[in-house]
Amino acid sequence: MEKTKYTKQFLILSVLLIILFFLNISFGSVSIPFKAIFNSIFGGNITKESWETIVIHFRVPKAIIAVLVGSGLSICGLLMQTLFKNPLAGPFVLGISSGASLGVALLILGSSLFGGFFLTNTVSNWSLPMAASFGAILVLSAVITAANKVRNTMSILIIGLMFGSLTAAVISVLTYFSEATQIQQYLFWSFGSLGNLSWSEITVFAIIYSIGLIGTLFVIKPLNSFLLGEDYAKSLGINVKRSRHIILLITSILTGVITAFSGPIAFIGLAVPHIARMLFSSSNHKILLPAVAIIGALVLLICDSIAQLPTSEFTLPINAITSLFGAPIVIWLLVRKKKIFV
């Protein structure tokens, strides 16, 4: 019953996803004919070698990252909204993003403060993700330790927000004592970026992402029982505490790796679950989870394509685009539908 009902939506979304994936690859500062793009991916004859390099080493990785980041953040948003029974929750409520920001801020801004502590002032490809992950894990473990002492999920939410404020304050202090060039460098990281990742980085990204994704399959059942509230979940034989920990762990792994590699990308995690619930008018996680993943990938591919501004030389910060185009859409959807759900 439930499968046939949603097949059409899933089919349309999947086709859209494939189309947008290739459309995204065809956009960029260098205009490349579609045929050349197709050939460079599937190994045909290419008239210019530079085209192949651009496609294989820049555009395809970026499109793949967009799919991973978009779907990953959206899944995290869905998990958090169901866990906290709060439609405003998102992947960043647990202080993960602020933790990552703190790590990066310490690396970039703190280097002038602590001088020799960091060996060089130059920030390599790997040190940023490392610092971000380290910060995320640090703040998150603080949040989870605090969360273990409280029973109420709402308190965990507030504790997460408080840690967010704390780290933001520390970053402000760091910024105050930093030089303009370093502040600029930090600011660029906080704009978010899907590009500039090598294939080896993508492999690491994809492996961690897959671990998180497999984990979510195992929490579909507890998530559905959480729709009735934790008391009912418990009476249905669900180990509420363990499920909550697994959900928090999955979210931190996914959000942590995403933030580490592409910066704090706003809006997607909060908004996509709402879009999915409206399109599918369901709260069943067996339907929502794949829906949210596909829509999340779609939305970020669209945002990235807009950020490229076809045929223009500039690339706008992805973080600005997600909010600039996404927020009005969600407002419009909510005003039209009037009712929001968890």
């Binding site: 579909i220 009735l228 008391d231 418990k234 009476s235 369901s282």
Partner: protein, 221 residues
């Protein structure tokens, strides 16, 4: 039964292991409830609570199907047995016409029947309901009580409810537990009436238990 704040909900929540006992131990079939895993207990005791459900777009059918979670596999796939049990629960509570609705569209009375159906689908010996008629008008209250009475007769389940519907409980219950500030009185309604147990339920200034009418009456000054 008992006055507000006496601990009816606390007792029921403790019996169903939703919260830890303040003191003492609970046994189901001579087995300490603390030693029964949540999974095993979920096949013995099901719940209907008073608290409002979090807002979601679950359909009535999906909501009832959640009652099968103790029996489904890791991905929560419904087996033919599960589907059969759900159908039986829907039939017993007479909500066939509602199953494709979203649960937030239902009236309080309909929702209560759906929640009872969910508990029935869980296929437990015991169903615990915390004030199942709290938000209902008299007609709906009577419908729920007669449904519960019918279920006890047809399914041989033990149904434990907390309620403020004293007059109805006296007529319909097989056994009543009266919680009073100092003691706990149990027995059939008849026996409790004979021992004037109901007089202890409320302070005497305002209401009085009238034995011939078998109900509480207001004292007119």
């Amino acid at each position: 039964m008992g006055e507000n704040g006496i601990g009816k909900s606390t007792l029921l929540r403790t019996l169903s292991k939703v919260q830890k006992p303040l003191s003492g131990t609970i046994f189901i079939h001579q087995k300490n409830i603390e030693k029964i895993t949540e999974k095993a207990l979920s096949k013995q005791v099901s719940l209907v609570l008073t608290a409002r459900l979090p807002e979601s777009q679950l359909t009535v059918y999906e909501l009832i199907a959640l009652g099968r979670q103790p029996y489904t596999n890791w991905i929560d796939k419904l087996s033919p047995v599960d589907i059969e049990k759900i159908a039986t629960a829907i039939r017993q509570t007479e909500i066939e016409h509602l199953i494709n609705n979203r649960f937030y569209e239902l009236s309080d009375g309909q929702l209560q029947r759906v929640l009872i159906a969910r508990a029935l689908a869980q296929d437990t010996e015991m169903i615990i309901l915390d004030e199942p008629t709290a938000h209902l008008d008299m007609h709906q209250t009577l419908k729920i009580f007669s449904l519960l009475k019918k279920l006890v007769a047809t399914t041989q389940k033990t149904i434990i409810i907390s309620s403020h519907e004293v007059n109805l409980a006296i007529q319909l219950a097989d056994e009543i537990i009266l919680l009073t500030p100092n003691t706990l009185l149990t027995g059939t309604p008849k026996k409790l009436m004979e021992t004037n147990a109901f007089d202890t339920l409320f302070p005497k200034e305002l209401v009085n238990f009238n034995k011939t009418l078998q109900q509480f009456v207001i004292i007119k000054s």
